[in-house]
């Protein structure tokens, strides 16, 4: 039988047509190695899961607005499962992926890399996270999660959480590796833009802390698998795995990158450089170290309560306020010197920084009781402190989380509006972003105020036993539900901000330019980001490229 090595000529035109026809959208998304596309996917789906978490959270809070009975869920354990799902969706499904998404999108541009390190790996991390987060959410519907009644579903929940954490850690490793190893020629470590530095510190924090959570979950899986947690009540101990991540000061880590975004927004929209850039980077670094150290301090293993009277933890919580203050003060000094244009990224960035500061400041109230107890023990004296200050184990921590969630959403809004044109080549109407940031801030403040007040009233975090509700708990819960609902609305607005330019809507004119390296890239940035490999000779390369050579 004769074989020919050349194709029949009749095939050639069809092949040419096939080459010219772009691949289907799904195929392009699945096979992409473009960090800008991967970042958008993280942000889009992160916002979606955050939205889902906030909606379920709001529904749960409204359920608690009438404490006479359970209307939506069947019993207390089911209610706790729903609360656990809310926390998983907000933290592992929303806040961390949002941060990774913005980092994946922006960091390579800011440090002058042609792509994110291990681009295919970064894409793999996203798809793994997406799939496993979906399965994790489904496991709750199968009566899994902490306190779950179906053993197999509980095991599925633990395994998918481990996989979700592994994917998140790998996404963070890609970001950190890009900052450490793929910087443009000449870019010193201290010249890294504040946002990229913030994401780097954030990534290192995640790499150090998230495996501790995974270790607890792994043991939880084995305990359920081999019958050590046979009942639904005993399985509630699995709730402890994520506890430390949602308590001050570790919880600040979730919103740490907003400090860098706020600083970059200030520099961009005032057009002036920072007087003490190294101090700003140092403050962000110290803030990260305090969060990470706190995680190690409060990490107590399987489901045991956090020791809030731990002296080092008190010091870490106390000290965490200072680097936030230092960062905002030093960036604020630039704000004072410049003539800022109050554009969306600046407004949202400032709001995010202030919300994080508010979270750290409010958390100080939780230190009063441990400090007074310490003084009483040391001095053998008795100090008359109102009972309300015993805030450990109350809803107080949920209030802090509310402010952190609002700070993160505002930070994401700031980032999408700051660098949107570099990514999509289109800029959405800034009023949409301002509205999203204001609604998020309002929602966060309402959520925080109600839960902090509820904590001072002595309301425990676990309301599955309705008999333990304090006076006024119903009103506090309704207010918290309203706050979460507002945050959910801001999540919708954030999603719209991402979707509009994706479908070709928005202004094509580049609205502003900044001083750091990413502003030298074409807008929208091409696949390899820069027309030629950039060489950096100062912290503000775009300023060097201007006619006056950086006379500012």
């Amino acid at each position: 039988m004769a074989l020919t090595e050349t194709r029949p000529e009749t095939d050639a035109p069809e092949a040419a047509v096939a080459e010219a026809t772009p691949a289907p959208v799904l195929e392009r998304l699945l096979s992409t190695g473009d960090h800008k596309v991967i970042g958008r996917l993280w942000i889009g789906f992160g916002a979606l899961f955050l939205l889902a978490g906030l909606v379920v959270g709001a529904v749960g809070a409204f359920e608690q607005a009438d404490l006479g009975s359970f209307d939506i869920v069947d019993d207390g354990i089911e209610f706790v499962q729903a609360q656990s799902a809310v926390r998983d969706l907000i933290v592992l499904g929303g806040l961390i992926p949002l941060a990774i998404g913005v980092a994946t999108m922006i960091v390579p541009l800011q440090v002058g890399a042609s792509s994110i390190a291990f681009a295919r790996g970064a894409a793999g991390a996203f798809w793994t996270w997406l799939f496993c987060t979906g399965v994790m959410a489904a496991s709750y519907l199968m009566n899994g999660g902490p306190g779950g009644g179906v053993g197999d579903a509980v095991q599925l929940w633990t395994l998918t959480q481990i996989a979700v954490i592994a994917a998140l850690v790998w996404g963070l490793i890609c970001v950190a590796t890009t900052v450490m190893g793929a910087r443009a020629t000449g870019m010193r470590f201290e010249w890294i833009p504040a946002s990229s530095w913030g994401f780097f510190v954030y990534a290192i924090g995640g790499i150090l802390m998230l495996p501790l959570v995974a270790a607890q979950l792994m043991l939880g899986y084995l305990d359920v698998r081999f019958g050590y947690l046979p009942t639904q009540e005993s399985r509630l101990t699995l709730l402890g795995a994520l506890d430390t991540l949602t308590h001050a000061p570790v919880v600040y880590w979730l919103a740490l990158p907003v400090l860098g975004v706020a600083v970059d927004a200030i520099v961009t929209h005032t057009g002036v450089t920072l007087r003490f850039p190294k101090v700003v980077l140092g403050a962000i670094g110290v803030f990260g170290v305090l969060s990470m150290a706190a995680e190690v301090l409060v990490w107590n293993g399987r489901g045991r309560p956090i020791a809030f009277d731990n002296g080092l933890l008190v010091v870490a919580t106390l000290a965490a306020v200072l680097p936030i203050l230092a960062t905002l003060a030093l960036a604020g000094e630039a704000l004072k010197r410049g003539k800022p244009a109050m554009r969306t990224p600046l407004v949202a960035g400032l709001l995010s920084g202030l919300l994080l500061l508010a979270a750290a400041a409010v958390a100080l109230l939780g230190l009063v009781h441990p400090i007074v107890s310490f003084i009483e023990t040391a001095g053998d004296t008795s100090i008359d402190l109102p009972d309300g200050f015993a805030l450990a184990g109350t809803t107080f921590a949920s209030g802090i989380l509310g402010l952190v969630v609002a700070a993160s959403v505002c930070g994401a809004v700031a980032a999408v509006n700051q660098w949107g044109h570099k990514i999509w080549g289109r800029q959405v109407d800034g009023r949409l972003g301002i509205l999203a940031a204001l609604v998020a801030a309002l929602g966060g403040v309402v959520w925080a105020a109600s839960m902090v007040a509820s904590g001072f009233a002595g309301q425990g975090r676990d309301l599955s036993a309705l008999s333990e509700a304090v006076d006024g708990a119903e009103a506090y819960n309704a207010a918290a539900g309203a706050g979460m609902a507002l945050l959910a609305v801001s999540g919708v607005l954030l999603l719209v901000s991402v979707l509009l330019p994706s479908i070709g809507l928005g202004s094509q004119a580049e609205p502003f330019r900044g001083l750091t390296l990413e502003w030298l890239a074409p807008s929208p940035a091409p696949l390899s980001n820069f027309d030629a490999a950039p060489v950096v000779t100062s912290p503000y390369p775009a300023l060097d490229a201007t006619d006056d050579g950086g006379a500012q």
């Binding site: 950190a176 790499i207 150090l208 802390m209 495996p211 501790l212 995974a214 792994m218 043991l219 081999f226």
Partner: protein, 208 residues
Amino acid sequence: MTTATDISGFDNLPEAIPAPSPARPRLLLIATALTSVAIAMGFAGLLGIYIETRAEVIQTGERWLPGSTVIPLTQPNMMAITLLLAGYVIAWAVSSIRNDDQGNTNVALGLTLMLGFAYLAQSAYLMTIMELPAAGDTLARPTLLYALVAAHMILVVAAMAFVAGTFFRTVGGNYSSRDVEGLYALAFFWGVTIVLYLAVWYAIYITK
């Protein structure tokens, strides 16, 4: 016919030799180090819980492991020696590739795979002779022990996959004396694997 002194064929060489391309960033080595840190933190978490739980059980006056359980030292010690030997063999692979000796590099990587397999076989055998039931009604949690041992076995499997990948890339000509990064990364990862085993070895097999 072209002679040794005939350089007319090189007329197209530029007069000024261009600068060499910038050194390739050590992305693989950095990512390996960061991955190793994450893995080490996971192990630190497991070990912390193991040690704390063990201390609590012993404080109550109970035995940590059931009476019928025997943890011999022969296999754990041999496993430690096997891993250390594999670490030495990887150093041989690095040294060979730095001298462009691909043959010795391939032999060293193949030997590392074999030693990794030997470690896994010894671990599995040890599990069978320990007679430690996974489920039980004592305060002790054998699952803690199995979690640590199984996690390390999974780590060694991952390290072996890394060795296999490096082997194929070396055979494919990706690594030479000009680019040793992949083997440095592999050596680092294997080193972390050894250190973590030594921690498990002391916490489980020595202190029992």
